[in-house]
């Protein structure tokens, strides 16, 4: 499972402790079972077995032995619970609001003034405090190597915090069934070193670059004159919609459509051309754009770095 945060490491170490107990019990029980059925199989001409009704000592033994193993499991369990279920860390370096929506993730950095979608950047070695909310149905945040699961429950704010300890791109996925395209609601957590993170922050705090060259500038026109703007925000333009992901720096993301497709021209065109094919049930409609318009739009979105 290769944990990459303190949180995941705690879960991992507990998991393996319990796992080896389970393996031990499994081996012992199966060995006794197999021995018994071989040793005591009926043989021709055998005597009728002696009727034994019980043995108090033995029965006490196999009541107490499992109880002791459970105590051995319960102690580290309870220690871990009181760390990982604590509503907030002692000291948080960075707060991120995670908002689950059918079927994508919104990330807000209140301290940094950044809003992005499906791809969060965090600095290595710093404690990240996630505040989890849902805009519609239940979701569950899970980045297997960093942390989770923790459910996003409408009407509540949930908590999850961890300190990533290695640099890399970590895959995550909604883990609570949330409707048609639940399977297509993934995310990326990018753990950067300090300088990369600062650069990312600087880029993402800025408003969108203005596309001046064709075909990106034409694509900008397509975007601003179509219904795109009623759902999407591109900071620094008249696009201020809030239903869909913020696209201010969409060109710099690794993936599109909630981590489903790599972010390249062909995939962008596919997504814009027929969103329902990529993500059935998604709120994004097919805008009925011409092939040329799609091409221009792709160029524009790719320029938003």
């Amino acid at each position: 499972m290769h944990p990459a945060s303190d949180f995941a490491a705690r879960l991992d170490s507990l998991f393996w402790q319990i796992f080896w107990w389970a393996v031990g019990v499994f081996v012992v029980v199966e060995a006794i079972l197999i021995y018994t059925i071989i040793r005591f199989r009926a043989r021709p001409g055998g005597e009728r077995p002696k009727p034994v009704h019980g043995h108090t000592g033995l029965e006490l033994g196999w009541t107490i032995a499992p109880a002791l193993i459970l105590v051995a499991i319960a102690i580290p369990t309870i220690q871990t619970i009181f760390v990982v279920d604590k509503p907030s860390p002692e000291e948080a370096d960075l707060t991120i609001e995670v908002i689950g929506r059918q079927w994508w993730w919104e990330f807000r950095y209140p301290e940094l003034g950044i809003i992005t979608a499906n791809e969060a950047h965090v600095p290595v070695g710093q404690t990240v405090d996630l505040r989890l909310r849902s805009a519609d149905v239940l979701h569950s945040f899970w980045v297997p190597r960093l942390g989770g699961k923790r459910d996003l429950v409408p009407g509540r704010e949930n908590f999850l915090w961890f300190r990533p300890d290695s640099v890399g791109v970590f895959w995550g996925q909604c883990a609570e069934y949330c409707g048609t395209s639940h399977a297509l609601m993934s995310l990326r957590f990018v753990v950067d070193d300090a300088s990369d993170f600062d650069a990312w922050v600087a880029t993402n705090q800025a408003t969108a670059v203005t596309a001046s060259e064709r075909p990106a500038s034409q694509g900008r026109n397509v975007f601003m004159t179509n219904a795109c703007i009623s759902c999407h925000t591109i900071r620094g333009t008249q696009a201020q919609g809030v239903l869909g992901p913020d696209l201010t720096h969409v060109g710099s993301r690794l993936t599109i459509a909630a981590g489903v497709l790599d972010n390249n021209a062909a995939n962008l065109a596919r997504w814009i051309g027929n969103p329902q094919d990529v993500k059935p049930g998604s709120l994004m409609p097919n805008m009925g754009l011409t092939e040329q318009q799609v091409e221009q739009l792709v160029a524009y979105l790719q320029s938003l770095r």
């Binding site: 005591f40 009926a42 077995p49 034994v52 459970l70 519609d136 049930g281």
Partner: protein
């Protein structure tokens, strides 16, 4: 008119379980025939739900597959789970309760025979109603535990979830009625001398499960009522914007849902606790401990529901308490496993098919039990919950436990039900294929889950390391489908030319083996006087001796047989079609809930016809 039909049916009914026309089946109140009805209907639902599972595996055979439409896939896993739990598992278990319990306690029928028929018809109508959803706008697609608010009218505007709510409400009525019936039957209709601590383990577990049903179903019923009102009348029970807590649904569901797991698995434990002594030729080791551990599992089962909600963020104290309570369940479960092994220890084990499935249960349930312990630790569960790891866990429990137990029971009691033996060769093939299929399908899911594959996803991305495990699981599912071939073949062959069984083909010890196979419709010509737990293994207390019967194996003892026919007239309840009418009325009301008052009102009237017909008809003939 009613009188004459009843009399005709009675005439046919006198001849036994298997004779008589369609009408006699529609009006039967004989627990043995109702058992057959339950079994056949439950088995068909099992096959259908199995096919749905097969479709899930087909879709997941390779990554990014678009074989099934996502909406259809979501319907498949919802219907697979819902059907397996409510319309396959429950009725198959109740089929065994029906056939076995009255025979094991020395009764001529259940306490309320007509209520029993009513339970069956309600269950059948609810199942058919649920499946009608496919033809009216699509099946439910909110998962078998239907978490709000996804399943509310805002996010599931189709009628699918209405079918779910209404079908489960309807079937719940029949289930609760069944719970009352079996609890009272076991408390009140035991033969003289059949003290509680002399009851066979299967009957004991039926008793415990009936109590669980009575206590666990009402909270679920209320949850369903809330959901129905939210969907149909705009109430706010799960509406976060109105101040409600959507987690209420999860609490109500799992207060029921976790005991439901024991409702499904304890009867299997009961079967195994009867089968293992029979085929080891030794009484059950530590009978009182096995009984009390069953009761303890059921009792603890009510205090652990939050372990389905460890990731909802209820805080460290709640999680610690419920995690600890969950771990405790491992102790009585472990006790049962060791007692079964100790029963075999020193015995003379005969590997007949019922015993193969029973040993298979002991061996594989351990895996499900141990992954259960891994889930009971809340932090560890955070990684595992809602992934394929948990899917692996509960399939090991429900197949390695419930299904193996039911198959064991099927091969064990089939000779009693029909008077014919099932083929041992086909039975062994069936066992080994099932055993293989279970492990090939579900063992790899532990790995795909730990690697990060959430459940209920219609696809998964390439390159996450999930491809191989999923492909193996799909191959396993095909073996599963294949495993039904020897079973169906065995049933068919037994039907055509099965070897006659005789009263006690296994040299078993309990009362159901004292009469002919199939039993006469009145079961016991003379209500037996019970002197011990293993009645038929104590011939010295049972002076009536029929030499040769059941003495198939060396060392076997001869049971005292029930005289045939009965020495004096036996009064049995009349067949009745009023339970069917009442159930039909309830079905009409249920359909009316989707259509409107113009259908509800005739339904209510039909219910009154059924109720009053029921209340005023003469009970005995």
């Amino acid at each position: 008119m009613a009188e004459t039909t009843v009399n005709q049916a009675t005439g046919a009914h006198e001849e036994g379980t298997w004779s008589g026309g369609v009408w006699s089946w529609l009006t039967t109140v004989d627990h043995k025939r109702i058992a057959v009805l339950y079994f056949v209907a439950g088995f068909i639902f099992l096959l259908v739900a199995g096919m749905e599972g097969q479709m899930i595996r087909l879709q997941l055979a390779k990554p990014e597959s678009r074989l099934l439409d996502p909406d259809f896939y979501n319907q498949m896993f919802t219907m697979h789970g819902t059907t397996m739990v409510f319309f396959a598992g429950m009725p198959l278990i109740i089929a065994f309760f029906n056939f076995v319990v009255p025979l094991q306690i020395g009764a001529r029928d259940v306490a309320f025979p007509r209520l029993n028929a009513f339970s069956f018809w309600v269950f059948l109508f609810a199942g058919l109603f649920l499946y009608a959803s496919f033809f009216f706008g699509g099946a439910p697609d909110g998962g078998w535990f239907a978490y709000m608010p996804l399943t509310g009218s805002q996010y599931s505007p189709r009628t699918g979830m209405d079918f779910y709510v209404l079908a489960l409400l309807l079937s719940g009525v029949g289930t609760i009625a069944g719970g009352v019936n079996f609890l009272v039957t076991i408390l009140n209709l035991r033969a003289p001398g059949m003290g509680l601590m002399r009851m066979p383990l299967f009957t004991w577990m039926a008793f415990v499960v009936s109590a669980l049903i009575l206590l666990a179903f009402p909270p679920f019923t209320i949850g369903l009522v809330f959901m129905m009102f939210d969907r149909m009348f705009g109430t706010l029970f799960f509406n976060a914007a109105a101040g409600a807590d959507p987690l209420l649904w999860q609490h109500l569901f799992w207060v029921f849902g976790h005991p439901e797991v024991y409702i499904l698995v304890l009867p299997a434990f009961g079967v195994v606790s009867d089968v293992i002594p029979t085929f080891s030729k030794k009484p059950l080791f530590g009978y009182p401990v096995v009984v009390f551990s069953g009761i303890l599992i059921a009792f603890l089962g009510f205090g652990v529901w939050v372990h389905h909600m460890f990731s909802t963020g209820l805080g460290p104290i709640v999680n610690a308490v419920f995690g600890g309570a969950t771990m405790l369940i491992a102790i009585p479960t472990g006790i049962k496993i060791f007692n079964w092994i100790a029963t075999m220890w020193g015995g003379a084990i005969r590997f007949k098919t019922p015993m193969l499935f029973a040993i298979g249960l002991v061996g594989t349930f351990v895996i499900g039990g141990l992954s259960g312990v891994m889930h009971s630790s809340p932090p560890s569960d955070l990684q595992q919950t809602d992934t394929y790891f948990v899917v692996a866990h509960f399939h090991y429990v429900l197949i390695g436990g419930t299904v193996f137990g039911l198959f064991s029971g099927l091969y064990y009691w089939f000779p009693k039900v029909t008077g014919r033996m099932l083929s041992e060769k086909l039975g062994a093939a069936h066992f080994w294929l099932t055993f293989l299929a279970l492990n090939v399908t579900f063992f790899p899911m532990h790995f795909s889950g730990l690697l990060g594959m959430p459940r209920r996803t219609f696809t998964y991305a390439e390159g996450l390391g999930l491809e191989t495990f999923n492909l193996i699981s799909t191959i396993g599912a095909f073996i599963f489908t294949l495993s039904f071939v020897p079973l169906v073949l065995a049933l068919w062959r037994a039907w055509r030319r099965g070897e006659p069984a005789g009263p006690n083909p296994w040299d078993a010890a309990t009362l159901e083996w004292t009469m002919s196979s199939p039993p006469p419709h009145y079961n016991f010509a003379v209500i037996p006087q019970v002197e011990s737990r293993d009645s038929l293994w104590h011939p010295h207390i049972d002076p009536g001796h029929v030499p040769g019967a059941g003495d198939a194996e060396p060392g076997g003892v001869t049971p005292r047989l029930q005289p045939d026919p009965a020495p004096e007239p036996v009064h049995m309840p009349n067949p009745s079609f009023w339970p069917l009418i009442l159930a039909l009325g309830m079905l009409v009301v249920t359909i009316g809930a989707l259509i409107g008052l113009r259908v509800v009102i005739p339904g209510v009237l039909l219910m009154f016809v059924g109720l009053y017909g029921w209340a005023f008809e003469p009970v005995e003939g």
